[in-house]
Symmetry: C2
Subunit: 468 residues, 2 copies
């Protein structure tokens, strides 16, 4: 900095002002280049890690490339080949645009593309025919007005939630196809041929997509949703268990490391899972029967389970805020209610884990009701303990406790009571999750546990679908 020239402006009143280097000066540019270089160095490493952590991302990239190369070769080799202006283009374009990460999304886009192209094409040909008959002066007006009206209607329809969720892409393709046909200016019989060819090409393109998507390491949105809900349940249970144990059992907090910290904060994943779950459920409804899932599996119910889990996680978030979990004080009350609180949290966690097992195996569980009952009994017990003991005890104990001031003990008491209240509320919300999962079990016809055990003894589990 020392050998840099400094520019000063002297004002009339004698004060001077240092001119700072201009915003896009050499120093700034150098700074930007260094930053860009660093980013470019880190970037490939990060990308590689992303793929190594979930190799299915690599596989998806290769699948897209396979479908694209196949469809290109198909048109390159075929005598049908007629350059980039022709049909090959539409097949390639279809593959690029339609191929998605999950099979459900690919199928959804495929169906949207084929239906929207067909409907818009035939509608445009019809309007074209009418406009042709109406005479040369009226023709552009009819074409223009119909394009305007249909484009605005289709664009507006994309704001309607049900359309947005299922037919958003279809609406875009509808506008695209309609406007392409209506400005084409071809004669109707030419148009008809072109439309047929176009639809045929799109079908070829989408077939390549769907076949590659479903046969080569398929990624089913339904399966993903199922796994995500189950693993979120485990995360929730581990967080709950861990956080309460950390407060009551000193030992755990002393050996806290990065790994266990990650476990404790698992509930945060649950809190932010809504968008991903919604999009997976949307894709899943397009998927055919796969693995243990039927067509029309109750995917919506998974969203309900997810919502209940988020509501439970948000209680846990409040708990982390309200209770100083690192506190090492051991008031009498803490000792008195630690047992029942720990049992409470581990009971809640057991219920969640049993629900996770239940949805993972897709079996009805005999023990869920028992575990919920146990949880509710512990909740009752906690209430009783709170009612009978602590407050009186604490007041008696305060004067005799030498190691902590009465103030500290009181704060500790508030924290304990808050923790207890939140635990009771968490138990209530866990019961909601249990209800939602039971409803899922009914809707998806989960097998009773006993018959599964019987089945397992006879042969390998084939899943509930084989029973319907």
């Amino acid at each position: 900095m020392g050998n840099e020239v400094e520019w000063r402006i002297k004002a009339g009143d004698g004060s001077s002002e240092i001119l700072v280097p201009e915003r896009f000066g050499i120093g700034r540019i150098r700074h930007w280049i260094v930053r860009l270089g660093l980013k470019l160095l880190i970037f490939p490493k990060k990308a590689w890690e992303l793929g190594v952590n979930d190799p299915r991302k690599f596989i998806h990239a290769i699948k897209v490339a396979i479908a694209l190369t196949l469809v290109s070769l198909f048109y390159y080799v075929k005598p049908l080949y007629d350059g980039v202006g022709g049909n090959a283009m539409w097949a390639v374009m279809t593959v690029v645009v339609v191929f998605q990460y999950t099979a459900g999304d690919t199928i959804s886009k495929t169906i949207n593309r084929i239906c929207a192209t067909s409907i818009a094409g035939f509608l445009a040909i019809g309007v074209h025919w009418v406009a042709n008959r109406a005479g040369d002066h009226v023709e552009p007006i009819i074409e223009g007005v119909s394009l305007f009206l249909l484009a605005s209607a289709a664009t507006f329809s994309r704001f309607i939630p049900t359309i947005k969720a299922r037919f958003d892409y279809g609406a875009v393709i509808f506008i695209l196809t309609y406007s392409l046909v209506s400005i084409s200016g071809y004669r109707v019989d030419e148009l008809w041929d072109m439309a047929m060819q176009r639809i045929f090409t799109i079908i070829i393109g989408t077939s390549f997509c769907i076949i590659t998507s479903i046969t080569v390491c398929p990624i089913w949105a339904g399966q993903e949703l199922h796994v995500s809900i189950t693993s979120n349940m485990d995360k929730l249970a581990n967080s709950l268990d861990g956080l309460v144990a950390q407060y009551f059992i000193d030992q755990t907090s002393s050996v806290i490391d990065h790994e266990s910290d990650k476990t404790l904060l698992g509930y945060k994943c649950v809190l932010s899972s809504k968008a991903a779950e919604d999009s997976m459920a949307n894709a899943a409804r397009w998927e055919p029967a796969h693995g243990r899932f039927r067509f029309r599996h109750p995917w919506k119910q998974y969203l309900k389970v997810g919502a209940s889990m988020r509501s439970c996680a948000s209680c846990l978030d409040a708990l982390v805020g309200c209770v100083n979990l690192e506190s090492k004080d051991n008031s009498d009350m803490k000792e008195q209610i630690s047992g029942v609180c720990l049992r409470m949290s581990s009971n809640c966690a057991s219920v969640i884990r049993e629900l996770a097992k239940m949805s993972q195996n897709m079996t009805k569980s005999l023990s869920v009701d028992i575990l919920v009952g146990k949880m509710n009994n512990t909740a009752q017990e906690l209430q009783e303990v709170l009612k009978s003991n602590p407050i009186n005890n604490n007041n008696d104990a305060n004067p005799t406790k030498a190691q902590s001031s009465p103030q500290l003990v009181l704060m500790e008491t508030f924290q304990l009571l808050t923790l207890a209240s939140l635990l009771l509320e968490i138990a209530a919300r866990v019961e909601d999750i249990a209800k939602d999962v039971q409803q899922l079990a009914d809707l998806a016809h989960f097998l009773p546990e006993i018959s599964v055990k019987a089945l397992k003894q006879e042969k390998d589990l084939e899943g509930p679908c084989s029973q319907n």
Copy 2:
């Protein structure tokens, strides 16, 4: 039901089974038709309401139609016109695909489309040139391998969060253009002409989009994000105020109606706002200076504010669960701490409202620090009240209270203590929001309140941008 024929199967053991109507029987079809009819009847009404509630949705639909009709007419009238296979198609396609609801999204797609088309086009022409030189046998291999590698790399890059957020569409267009050019089979000089024309057409299409998007009732993602954050703050403040008042002041709970219920549950909007905020912030960073926002306004900071608000809302959610807000019991303790709790909640709400005002007007506020100080003082006071009074008092009062059982009073006490704890935690989280908003004020160079007042006296407020 009475005159329906019932089918029974008699089994060998004498038991009989009623045959239920088959799954896709006439009854079921009739049921589906009625349901579909009902949906079709309700649908236009719902769609209309959607538009009436936010007329900008209608306006957007009309804007898209205008851009599309204009670009169609442009090519229909122009001598350039050469049918659907030619360039007109690319302009139309660009308008349909690029035009988005917010200006930011439109600009982002435009830049993505132009850059990706150019890069992929030139790269493909280069590879094509090399492949041409390499001889007829090697040419398809070079083309195929390069397509395979680039397509998989570009597809994989779409999983990388930074690319996903900013260049997702660009990656798709890159693959599309590269594969179209590489299978085109034209000579390099032909390709060069074609590429130039194509890029020129896309620039025409995107110009129509951007002009329509920015000039006709523009919808700025940044403005939307700004408004959404501000209105969420107000919702949070109203919920907080209302919920605590409902618990302590009986009067409000008796006049509860649908409208006030909506106000009380406003915090739920805050809880589920993440996805929308993320996408608006992503779009906003592409927008030029508009209204009171500079280019490179600190949109990321809005996301931080949003996250703090969600953390506060999740405490409020726990409060709604833990505390029976409809409770009409009036224990001594409730009376004793109602004053300070009500002040606590209204102080928190005042801070949030001041922050909302501050971000809405984009001015630094002198009173935020004072209000936060007041809130913290009340928090201190609440802690003092809790420490000194209630528990002792309650134990003394219990035997003499005739109207409620000691058990009930105790439950009430727990609820009160939980409420107090949660209020204290909410205050802490409100302080986090305040810190984030103050940071926003620094980053976005909000004007000091005083200079705003002075400015207002002189002339209408022109916003902070005019000061830079």
